[in-house]
Symmetry: C2
Subunit: 284 residues, 2 copies
């Protein structure tokens, strides 16, 4: 359903967002960082909703905005509503969330929820997915966070891209299938990676060593893939399939069967990719 | 077997290393980067041995040093021999490597091989383990690489620490058990992490997206654990145990059973650690 693009309409919409402000549905990590970034670019956050009183108040205080824990008390006259809830809560509450505000522009921030979730509920909608790991204890610079935009029509698409470009120099369009794969890839490259850091920390603690000795290695591992593809950058006993080392490591993990299983699976994956590389190189 | 420490003896040994030079047994990634770093600090690399002609010549050329592929042609009069071979080759060739050079100082660079491997073969020995991921295509700055030192006696220990301190500002002592756990932790935090980057790259490629969109997230994931512990830094669907997202991800991985298994194991690990955190916080 692509509508014809109208630049005057887009200018009017951005002005409308500036005037009537933005409501945040959700006050978790994504909502907190995105709301702060928008507020920092001069947008007025008109209200914050969260089902958790503490979360609603904490974010509202930072933004100098009113807050509510009652969905029916969410103001109906904002120009843009940004929903950043857990996926499950969002889908469950959707009809209640949009009730009486069907003419506003609605955006969600979830990697794995297709844009079509809005269909039949509201008319003007889209997605603004910031691909980053947000923790409340840590400030982030939005300027370099990739923002992925999708919208129901060209007018909304341009508006969201313009809005995103005010926050970041990395704005992309991505459809719902691409966004879902981005989210899955991000789970591997960020969430799972961080868990491996946590395993490393536990192993070091067990032997009286501080986690900080690991930081130069962690940094270099991340820096390397700016220049080499991850396949080229791979090192370690599994790529050489050094059985002695791997057996010794598995023995050290004897008390942690889940980590042994992880060690085997990851080593096999590394070895499989390394073998493919060699075979590819050997081909004429 | 701790001998009494003698500062004069140590000064004489360092002078000896400078005069008679260092031989590298091995010309792989670790040997290449360590030899270059030592050469850059004014040490003379007297010879390079590798069983692979190309590797021996490539490293020797950079160092302006002679090379050999014949163990019996390794010169006997260097002051320090640094062995950086695959673990399996090192252990197998050890008697042949040291033959006729039993009075020199011998050092290996392997994380997982105990120092005692030298016992009964040579008299003066130790370990210099640089904990970093080395690829030949990529220069590294040795100045911030953690170097872990162990030696058979106090004199050799001080010499190796002094040598290490010329290369890096991060020199630690670690015994063989600690070093083995460092190596295991490094496999998780570096080798396995890099494999997760490689999985992410394949997923993105499949959906027509460039790996580079992942770099800001990878960088922030690494930066975060400089300030927060990995447990505190954990985010994503598994920490919330968002079943809808996790099920959708597993479906997207349907063609890759090994990645599905990895997804399940890592998600369970994340959830287990997150539950422990909550329980710990709840305790009085």
């Amino acid at each position: 359903m692509i509508q014809e693009y109208n630049p005057q309409e887009e200018g009017r919409l951005m002005e409308d967002v500036r005037q009537r402000g933005i409501v945040f549905i959700g006050a978790g990590n994504v909502a907190t960082h995105l709301a702060k970034a928008l507020s920092g670019r001069g947008f007025r956050i008109a209200q914050v909703y969260s089902c958790t009183e503490d979360a609603a108040q904490a974010l509202a205080a930072v933004l100098d905005a009113p807050c509510t824990t009652d969905l029916s008390a969410v103001i109906p006259d904002a120009a843009l509503y940004i929903v950043a809830l857990r996926d499950e809560a969002f889908v469950r509450l959707l009809p209640e969330i949009v009730a009486g505000k069907e003419d506003a522009l609605w955006v969600h921030t979830a990697g794995s929820i297709p844009m079509q979730v809005w269909e039949g509920h509201v008319r003007r909608y889209g997605v603004l997915y910031p691909m980053q790991t947000f923790s409340k204890q840590r400030e982030v610079d939005f300027a370099h966070i990739p923002l992925f935009v999708e919208a129901v029509s060209e007018t909304e698409n341009r508006l969201l891209k313009e809005l995103a470009a005010l926050l970041s120099d990395k704005v992309y369009e991505a459809d719902s299938v691409q966004r879902k794969s981005l989210h899955l890839a991000a789970v591997f490259a960020c969430n799972f990676t961080n868990h491996l850091y946590a395993v490393a920390e536990e192993l070091l603690t067990k032997y009286g060593l501080p986690f900080e000795v690991m930081l130069p290695l962690i940094d270099e591992t991340a820096r390397k893939v700016h220049r080499l593809s991850p396949r080229q950058a791979q090192t370690g006993p599994a790529v050489r399939y050094d059985r002695n080392v791997m057996e010794a490591h598995l023995q050290m993990l004897a008390g942690e069967p889940a980590w042994q299983e992880l060690y085997r699976l990851l080593s096999d994956g590394i070895h499989r990719m390394a073998s493919e590389e060699i075979n590819n190189t050997k081909q004429p």
